[in-house]
Symmetry: C2
Subunit: 253 residues, 2 copies
């Protein structure tokens, strides 16, 4: 540990709760992450090694190690054997300038609403049946919704749900998001496999979204699975690209 090592103040790790349900590694990771966002740990700063940090906090090395690993997986820290652990050099906040409207939407300041364009039960064709891992021809709920925020149309959402969910009513979907409805039925989404691309809007889509004819659309196709590994939903979404984008942080291991 050399001079450039940044010793986190003890105060960062106050109020650790050993009796509550929140894991210790999670508490440690959260506090380090907060220190990074608050600027207490600057980009490029080195932090103490695992053992020293563990002794200071009265925690074992595996616990500290897991806390740090969480932040490595998030792309906030970088570790090198023989060197140490450093904060990534790059502003963690928006790395691209956002349009103000998108920022508003993302922050949830606007009022989201849903207009139900289609709500019917049909039979799964071959491709859909394969995606949802159900029998071909089995009943599925087919939804098409227009999502708006502060009266501005943002996206057209088309979804198919397998048999256990074909009784989801129209009224539920106007007041709540689809995932919210599913959560109300005790279904928690665990895995989403998605493909993102783009295409030109059809005349109908352009009219619904209030963009120019054949304007560019951002599209996402997704299959979602619950915590039992069962496919719960297949969807094709298209977004106004001026109001929506996908962010991702990839970490090579």
């Amino acid at each position: 540990m050399n001079d450039s090592t940044n010793i986190l103040p003890r105060s960062v790790f106050m109020d650790m709760d050993r009796s509550g349900p929140m894991p210790l590694y999670y508490q440690v990771a959260s506090r380090i992450e907060a220190a990074i966002h608050d600027g207490e740990l600057r980009p490029g700063a080195r932090i103490e090694n695992e053992i020293a940090l563990g002794e200071r906090l009265g925690l074992s090395r595996p616990t500290i190690r897991r806390a740090i690993q969480e932040l490595v997986d998030k792309g906030l820290l970088v570790r090198r054997r023989g060197i140490g652990t450093q904060v990534v050099q790059g502003k963690v906040t928006r790395d691209l300038e956002l349009t103000s409207l998108y920022e508003d939407l993302a922050r949830g300041n606007k009022h989201p609403k849903t207009r139900l364009l289609l709500h019917e039960v049909t039979e799964a064709d071959g491709e859909l049946a394969e995606s949802l891992a159900v029998e071909k021809g089995s009943p599925v709920l087919h939804l098409r919704r227009l999502r708006t925020a502060d009266e501005t149309p943002v996206a057209i959402l088309e979804n198919f749900l397998p048999e256990p969910f074909i009784d989801i009513g129209e009224s539920e979907l106007v007041d709540h998001g689809l995932y919210q409805v599913l959560r109300g039925r005790g279904v928690t989404m665990r895995i989403a496999r998605q493909r993102i691309s783009a295409r030109s809007a059809t005349t109908e889509e352009a009219a619904l979204l209030g963009i120019s004819r054949q304007g560019a659309l951002l599209t996402m196709d997704r299959t979602a699975f619950d915590n039992a590994g069962v496919a719960v939903e297949w969807g094709h979404h298209c977004y106004r690209p001026d109001l929506y984008s996908f962010e991702a942080t990839l970490v090579n291991r």
Copy 2:
């Protein structure tokens, strides 16, 4: 462990190498993943609990646990406390039908080529300087390339690299990808923060990519960091959406 538990044949775990550099948890994870892809472990199948698997293989529980966790993070397995570990119900192969051309590109069957449209050293403006964490006005290498596959234009790639790389020559970039050139200099990419969206092509872009005027483009803005956490590249890429898409598997924890 009940009757539906799927006992992996011992043969799946043969040839484990305890002396080589490949970690044991990685060897175990690879073998289970192969069993899933080969159909030995079918969707929905339960696998043995961690302790039983560890005893069978002569490995400790943490090692087995880590192997399984790798596959959970990949979205191949689902774990539930009190229940067990199961294979996710969904074909692991392409979950959406691909155009044959995209598939060819993705599989690397086609011959990728690069045409260098621009290669100059400029000064970083405020926004770029912030993205790369360099001084405003410091020299950066500005690249613009047209990527083709089998003579078909696929993407326009615009990149900016900070000072240590401004001497990258034109000839290197024609024969090799940018990341390949960087790897040759001992730089390994570790983290990429990217935003994906879409927009209409400009007249010039449409001509370069061979698509219709104002056709839809898939765009990606990215900042990449090396294993020391230092920003190495900022790029804005735009892809022909009929030939390219982004896949991602998200896992809620």
